[in-house]
Symmetry: D2
Subunit: 120 residues, 4 copies
């Protein structure tokens, strides 16, 4: 994992340890907490038009930033308790997407590619 | 943003550009895509006990890793189009949580702290 | 609960019983399954414009209908194991919203009302 | 749609109409609002054990009921603007699941069935 993400993972471990919260931080519970935070993030966008979402007012942008921070923290913590390196997982998926979505075949199309052999 | 996250953000920009997908990548749409991927991640855990979630079998762990990769990619892309630095946002939120959840007050308790003044 | 929802709840109980799935159907697990299905539903809308979402093509509409069915089934099942009457819960919330969002104050505005005293 | 769900759908139409909120109630936006409410519902369960989720304390149960009400309202409203009958969609999906998950093959197993031909 990248140095900065690793540093955050270590701080989150300590944050949980000193509060005796490791008992709550099972992967299952952290996945739910992540879903809850993503729900709050989505709610910030729900009534905005596409254009408004590109130029949120300062108050909305500050709330989005706070929710993005929450999502990032739970994502790092979940990956850490599972022993998954987020950057490597993201790179692997990006390379897979690069193969599945050939640029000339999917240019300007929101169509979904058939599942990769990696998904099976 | 951290070097490795920044590198991924740049690769995602290029991935969207060569496919002419920037038109689809509004913050609103990306927040939805993130929610969809988190739904797939949560689904991997839904029938597992807490203990099983700590020791997923290799097939389940591989699927979780793939979903964590997807979530990370959309999170990076969403933050990028909004101009938000994920690591800074996470650090700010962690410091806020550190203040709100005093270790001796919340030790071993899953109780929620009252909203911070930053949430208002 | 309404007759038709009640009938579905009874069929879902039987569906779980004959498969010995009651062990998996804790409220916690069912809430996760609901979140997973809502993720699939949201994914159907993620790249559509607002206008396209109002007039989905037949294939997309069929997939939305399938996902709406899944969401409804898990919602009914979750409410059933918790002993909550969905129609009563929805009516109570609608009346609460009616009070909070006075028509003349919130006309044409997507602004959020302050939390009701019922939310505390 | 069932009489009681239909009655709620009509009340929600009127609720939106008198506030001039129909402009916000595109299927896309309502799907996001539904996801946001499901996020709040999941958050009520995230730190509970499986057993605790079966016997929530009265305060937690009241909050779950409120969130179930919110989810139900947005689900009804989304189905209404799409012209989908929720009860019929749920029945169709239940019958499909009945075929896919043969009771003797899946007894006591949380394994996922292969996709039905209806999913393709």
């Amino acid at each position: 994992m990248t140095t900065e993400l690793e540093r955050l993972a270590v701080r989150l471990r300590e944050f949980a340890r000193v509060r005796d919260w490791e008992q709550f931080h099972t992967p299952k519970n952290l996945a739910m907490a992540l879903a809850g935070e993503v729900g709050e993030l989505v709610a910030e966008f729900q009534w905005l038009t596409a254009d408004e979402s590109k130029n949120p007012d300062p108050g909305a942008l500050a709330r989005m930033r706070t929710e993005l921070g929450d999502v990032t923290l739970y994502l790092i913590r979940l990956a850490d308790v599972l022993g998954v390196d987020l950057v490597e997982a993201a790179q692997a998926k990006l390379e897979d997407n690069d193969r599945r979505y050939a640029a000339d075949r999917y240019r300007g199309s929101a169509e979904k590619a058939p599942p990769s052999s990696h998904d099976a």
